[in-house]
Symmetry: C2
């Protein structure tokens, strides 16, 4: 098996797609980096690029993404409903195959050092790679966002970055780099224009407000759809599955007389997260990857080239 | 791409698993034949083996399965709730990759001829390979089952087999061989011991009784679970999706004050049938194979060996 790190950088641009395309091209220009998904959101004015890379080249691919984002995105002009501190706002790294968390943390440090030194962007390390308890939680780093951080970074020692200058890079902003486990980003749209309802439901399901242990959630106004949105991160979908939270949102929305209009998955999800949903709603017990014909077919074709082997006589 | 036929033979034995294992081994002994799934059911006293094979070897693999089933299963002693006429009761063949329906029909005829002649088993061709309108429908061939057919086969000309003797093979029974499209077998268990409720619901959803166009369904008593079962075949899951029928069963069961206890998929299902379920219940629109991380990972690793290519400099 090759060694693989998954990177899911989030950029503060979701409207001018040529900019996101240019950043993606920059990532792809590095050997072994392979783009899996690009998700752009007009209202968040934010894009998520999902790519995989071998550990040897991940720092270079990340650095190129930062450099291109700093060149093409101007934080002094950025508006959008999602919290952010920089052009490349957050750079999560997930060790997927034959890479340890410690190795990934070392790579996050290398990337942070290059971004801080060569691009003069303040860098905060979060989650597994955080250098303090406080910074494990991305929300703490991003509190006050770009605008507030610009004012406090030089004076508030709790805001001193882990790499780069203790002064805001006005055009590129600041950034958070973190090693974390796989995460599912799932958004539910409500047939309402009342943001307070989305916020109340987001609170009801968020761990920090007494909701589900592995859910972080925010309520947003989605002007392009005339709807509001409950936006979620699932940090452990095995322990807090999507369907359970979805049903809670449905029941809370019902209390306000509001319907769920639709939902979306941002980026990719693991197969068993989807299988969980099928199992729950159809009351199945055994649905898993091995029950999917394409899966078994691919496996059978890969295994010992059995369909090519003409040597075995019948 | 290699050429592939999928075979899903059903055998009248679901309790003595060593017999099913022996038949599966017989199939596997043929070059290119690869078992994907084995599903045995105690109450139906029936097993389904799903395997793939290249067209050149499919007749031999099928013949060996018939021969072993005729050796190990005795229809004079068979009991089970599912309708059946023989030891290898039905042998569906699905052209999956680079095989035409016409080619598959020719292979079904070859297999039928060998089973009829060499094993002296009456063979009926059904669905796409049927030689008359009446025999397109498997239910017509199986009507009256093994016991009734034993009495009528020699006298009722409408029961004359397409291959083999017009006389029951008492130990091995008769069989149906057919070329058909992919099918999903899905069973729902009801928390009730009243078989009439399962039968009423099966009627409500069956095309033949005014239900859904692409559903065939029967109601069974499942003594091992103290429950009853609505057993279904979906002949076109794109036009009649599982979730719609499941919700109808739920609402009909509710009318009788009965709950759905669980459900099961027999054999394998295509990925997009599962994606449909996820899309429906979570009100997603875009969930598809490309949103699954393992899928994209495998694809990225296969495509042009990009993770191995060390020649491209950064």
């Amino acid at each position: 098996m090759p060694r693989i790190i998954e990177c899911i950088p989030n950029f503060s641009e979701g409207r001018r797609l040529e900019i996101i395309r240019a950043i993606a091209d920059e990532i792809s220009s590095v050997v072994s980096a392979k783009i899996l998904d690009i998700h752009s959101d007009i209202d968040h004015n934010r894009s998520v690029i999902t790519y995989i890379c071998d550990p040897e080249h991940v720092v270079e691919s990340g650095f190129r993404a930062y450099r291109k984002a700093a060149e093409l995105i101007d934080m002094t002009k950025h508006e959008g409903v999602h919290p952010r501190i920089g052009a490349c706002d957050v750079f999560p790294m997930v060790p997927l195959e034959s890479v340890t968390v410690d190795e990934a943390i070392q790579l996050a440090n290398e990337l942070g050092r290059r971004v801080g030194t060569e691009l003069q962007i303040p860098v905060y390390l979060y989650e597994s790679s955080a250098k303090s308890e406080e910074r494990k939680n991305l929300a703490n780093i991003r509190r006050g966002q770009y605008e507030e951080l610009t004012k406090t970074i030089a004076y508030d020692t709790s805001k001193t970055p882990d790499f780069g200058p203790a002064q805001m890079n006005l055009k590129a902003g600041a950034t958070a780099i973190g090693v974390r486990g796989p995460l599912i980003a799932f958004n539910v749209f409500l047939d309402s224009q009342d943001k307070s309802i989305a916020k109340k439901i987001a609170n009801a399901i968020s761990e920090s407000k007494g909701g589900f242990k592995f859910v972080k959630s925010l309520g947003f106004e989605i002007k392009s759809k005339n709807q509001v949105q409950v936006s979620m991160n699932f940090t452990d979908y095995r322990k807090t599955p999507l369907h359970r939270v979805f049903e809670t949102i449905k029941s809370e929305a019902d209390r306000y007389g509001v319907n769920i209009a639709s939902s979306e998955i941002v980026g990719l999800i693991p197969f068993d997260a989807a299988a969980d949903i099928v199992n729950f709603y159809l009351r199945l017990t055994g649905f898993k990857k091995e029950k999917v014909i394409e899966e078994r077919l691919g496996e059978a074709l890969r295994s010992s080239g059995v369909l090519e082997d003409k040597s075995k006589p019948y």
